[in-house]
């Protein structure tokens, strides 16, 4: 049975697209046929993060409007042949996505794919609503920062009341916390909310912590999901998250400050 995962946050710039690209690649690398859909109509960016921006011919809205078939619009990833990208449209028509149309495309994808990752736009407008509406699982991407935590809480309220599962009185969406841009050394100094602080407020199942990392910008610069940078801390953190999501028991990493005594002493 296919599962639909929404990557959401409310707030912009917290790492939704980075996370969508990384976990979609992670799931595909683990042998599951995966599609990742950009719901940010008008501000398409997943294609850039996945490095397929020059191969976009048709998009999500073309498929909804039946101007192209799903197979014409899906772009096969260059690094993994089990991963496909459905890019967003660059149209400025904010009503381009319809609930009926999105439902139809997802139903068609479900026949062929194991996981469908929906990269939500920021905000709580139509694109964000439709990205989460059909979800089975929600990855709530949060930064250890007040506005992000507040917006995540707001999104949790919407997931619990405005989704298809909520409306049809089905089992609620499984919600998971992904804490991104985490700096253990700043947490230690009392300058940043800790994992425990954020969990005290949001009471969510923690899927993983992604440390603040140079590798994320390097990955987006080159258009390769950061999970493929297997030596990097962020890449490993995402690999752990995919493994945990698939049911493996992996101890949490990147929460403690691991710098050695001398590096602390002399900075760096």
């Amino acid at each position: 049975m296919a599962r639909i995962i929404v990557v959401t946050s409310g707030k912009g710039g917290v790492g939704k697209t980075t996370t969508s690209a990384a976990i979609a690649m992670g799931l595909a690398k683990r042998g599951h046929k995966t599609a990742v859909i950009d719901f940010d109509v008008g501000l398409r960016n997943l294609d850039l993060i996945m490095g397929c921006e020059r191969r976009v011919v048709y998009d999500f809205v073309n498929v909804i409007n039946e101007e192209a078939t799903l197979n014409q619009a899906l772009i096969r990833d260059k690094n993994c042949n089990l991963l496909y990208i459905l890019p967003a449209s660059q149209t400025r028509d904010k009503d381009a996505l319809s609930q009926e149309g999105v439902g139809r495309v997802l139903d068609e994808l479900k026949k062929d794919f194991k996981y469908i990752v929906c990269d939500s736009p920021a905000g709580i407008e139509k694109g964000a609503h439709l990205a989460m509406y059909f979800a089975d699982d929600a990855f709530v991407v949060t930064n250890p920062e007040v506005s992000s935590v507040r917006d995540s809480d707001r999104m949790l309220g919407l997931l619990a009341s405005k989704s298809r599962r909520a409306e049809q009185n089905e089992e609620p969406i499984n919600e998971f916390l992904l804490l991104t841009r985490y700096s253990p050394d700043r947490v230690k100094l009392g300058e940043m909310l800790s994992v425990d602080d954020v969990q005290d407020i949001l009471s969510l199942h923690l899927l993983g912590v992604i440390p603040e990392s140079k590798s994320v910008l390097n990955a987006s610069n080159s258009g390769t999901p950061v999970i493929l940078d297997e030596k990097s801390d962020a890449g490993q953190a995402y690999a752990d998250i995919v493994a945990r999501y698939l049911g493996e028991d992996r101890p949490h990493r990147f929460i403690e400050d691991k710098k050695g005594f001398f590096r602390k002493l002399f900075g760096g």
Binding site: E145, V146, V149, R150, D153, R154, G157, D185, V187, K188, L189, G190, E191, M192, L193, S194, D197, D200, I201, K259, K264, L265, F266, G267, G268
Partner: protein, 84 residues
């Protein structure tokens, strides 16, 4: 973090302030999320009616809505001025 940081370790970080602010805010937003949308208007109109008879201020009245599995409760609290 460098050697210098050890001399200002006593400085209280701002994370605890952030947590406290968030806990208050989130609790407030969660409780108001389930409230019916007519509540602010109801409060305004009730205040207008009461002010016709009693000289009370804007904050003399509070309307709160609570919901559990059994029932929904609308609580109305009016503070009358001291009689002199």
């Amino acid at each position: 973090m460098s050697l210098l940081d050890y001399f200002r370790i006593s400085k209280v970080g701002t994370a605890s302030v952030a947590k406290e602010r968030l806990q208050i805010l989130v609790a407030h937003e969660r409780s108001s999320k389930n409230q019916p949308s007519y509540l602010p208007q109801l409060q305004k109109e009730l205040l207008a009616v009461i002010q016709k008879y009693v000289n009370v201020g804007q904050d003399a009245i509070s309307v709160s809505f609570e919901q559990d599995e059994e029932q929904e409760t609308l609580e109305l609290n009016i503070v009358l001025p001291d009689q002199k």
